[in-house]
């Protein structure tokens, strides 16, 4: 297939307003088309994929999407629902009826005892459109209040790098650090392991991925770093 003309090389860093392609290309993520020309909307790495041009943003905030698993913090206990900060432009809503799996009874049910201000909760976005707040649900197994572990917040666009191709990165991290790692699509990651050192290591690795997400050879470098840190720790005869 003949290569349509482009203005940048793949994975070059582009800035808002940079002209990426013209005419026959389709405007993908983080780009917009005007007068037949496609421009970048955010700072990121430009990618050309067949006829589509898009930008993998290096910095962007989370925009809710139905089906996403997110980790958020309760900021308010309302009447019949909690308001949850999921690091998006809009605060999310979790209905008491969802947590109870039956209608909410104001006289009987004490909401703060289920989830109180400051609690972390892992939930799934079940509804969202621009006119209403994103709606959460904790019905599925593994969802609900976070009882233990550490939280790492990174730029949401780098989540795919933390997961890795077919989960390769996150699987490696889990094995090497002996931690449960739950990745929220909103850029919040929960790390929970048996030893604090293991958790620290996982956090360190995740931060490294956040910093270097736009580079190549990342998986190898992270694996190397984790292993050499572990060796250092195990020398001091602490268990990970």
């Amino acid at each position: 297939m003949m290569n349509l003309p482009t203005f940048y090389e793949r994975r070059e860093i582009v800035t808002p307003g940079d002209l990426l392609a013209e005419d026959d290309y389709v405007a993908g993520d983080n780009t917009y088309k005007e007068d037949g020309k496609i421009y970048a909307m955010r700072v990121g790495l430009v990618e050309y994929d067949d006829r589509k041009v898009f930008v993998v943003a290096l910095k962007a905030f989370y925009v809710p999407s139905v089906g996403d698993i997110v980790i958020g913090k309760v900021v308010e206990v309302g009447l019949g629902a909690w308001i949850i900060d999921i690091r998006a432009p809009y605060p999310a809503l979790l209905r008491a009826s969802d947590a109870l799996n039956r209608p909410f009874k104001p006289q009987r049910d004490d909401m703060p005892s289920i989830l109180d201000v400051g609690d972390l909760v892992m939930a799934k976005i079940v509804a969202y459109d621009r006119t209403r707040a994103p709606l959460l649900s904790i019905r599925e197994p593994d969802l609900g209040k976070v009882e233990r572990g550490q939280i790492v917040e990174i730029t949401p666009t780098k989540i795919p790098r933390v997961i890795g191709r077919k989960g390769s990165m996150v699987t490696m991290l889990k094995q090497e650090t002996n931690c449960q790692i739950t990745v929220g699509q909103n850029g919040v990651i929960l790390v929970s392991g048996r030893s604090p050192k293991g958790e620290q290591l996982a956090v360190m690795a995740i931060r490294k991925i956040d910093e270097e997400a736009h580079t190549s050879g990342l998986t190898d470098r992270v694996t190397q770093m984790v292993r050499s840190e572990k060796r250092g720790v195990e020398h001091a005869s602490e268990e990970i």
């Binding site: 307003g17 421009y39 006119t131 730029t155 580079t215 190549s216």
Partner: protein, 246 residues
């Protein structure tokens, strides 16, 4: 105590007091991501100007009655620190700061995709820490980067500077002495994507021909500044890339 005005701002060889040629910008240094709490931030030094810009948002608009149903509300506060100028300036917003907050906001809004985030607000704060003429231009240049640094989708960047007339000659990027003693000052903001002017003001006296020349000078100055803006945004990532991809 006011500064004593020097005899001449520009000599017979068209060299300005600070050594610049008529068409030279002051030295500019910009950095993004300088503040920990803000969603986006940038710091600029242009000559003796030192200005910080920070963005919070998009987030829920408060108070709620200000929220716009089909787009984000862009709010801007241009403020000068009391110690930013020779004679201490009261911290209360002056009429000049109110006007500048408005025109700066109007200069940047065309660049932001506000329609993507209805009912939210995007708050832009500009603090002038040290002022030496042309602060609104430098503020817009920095604010543009702060918005991009916050990950807010933009049509493009906005660059700004001023040109004018001093001692009979048309000059670019007037500093405070040149502005106060000169015949005209024209601040201008430019969006390269749209090939358009988003801020334009003037005070002084110019013929229509001079005005045309001054506007063109300012636009050319903005194009140079735009190049610097792009470099600044990429800088952080390019440095990391070079460091790790040996």
């Amino acid at each position: 105590m006011s500064q004593k005005k020097p005899e001449k701002s520009i000599d017979e060889n068209d060299v300005r007091l600070d050594g610049r040629g008529l068409n030279d910008l002051r030295p500019i240094k910009i950095e993004v991501g300088v503040l920990g709490n803000a969603d986006g931030s940038a710091y600029i030094e242009q000559g003796k100007n030192k200005i910080l810009a920070a963005v919070y948002g998009p987030k829920e608009a408060h108070p709620k009655h200000l929220a716009i149903p089909d787009r984000a509300l862009l709010r801007c506060r241009y403020h000068m620190a009391p110690f930013s100028v020779e004679e201490r300036k009261s911290p209360a917003p002056s009429r000049r700061e109110v006007e500048l907050s408005k025109v700066i906001r109007e200069a940047l809004e065309p660049a932001v995709f506000v329609e993507y985030y209805p009912r939210t607000s995007i708050d832009l704060f500009i603090e002038v820490l040290q002022a030496d003429g042309g602060t609104r231009g430098a503020a817009i240049t920095a604010a543009s980067l702060a918005l991009a640094d916050a990950g807010i989708p933009m049509r493009g960047l906005v660059a700004a500077c001023a040109a004018g007339k001093v001692e009979g000659r048309l000059v670019l990027d007037l500093n405070d002495i040149e502005d106060k003693g000169g015949e005209a000052d024209v601040p201008l903001a430019w969006m390269p994507n749209l090939n358009a002017i988003t801020l334009l003001q003037m005070d002084g006296s110019l013929t229509i021909d001079e005005f045309e020349q001054v506007v063109n000078m300012a636009v050319e100055g903005c194009k140079k500044i735009h190049g610097l803006q792009k470099e600044t945004l990429k800088a952080k990532y390019v440095a990391v890339k070079e460091e790790v991809e040996e």
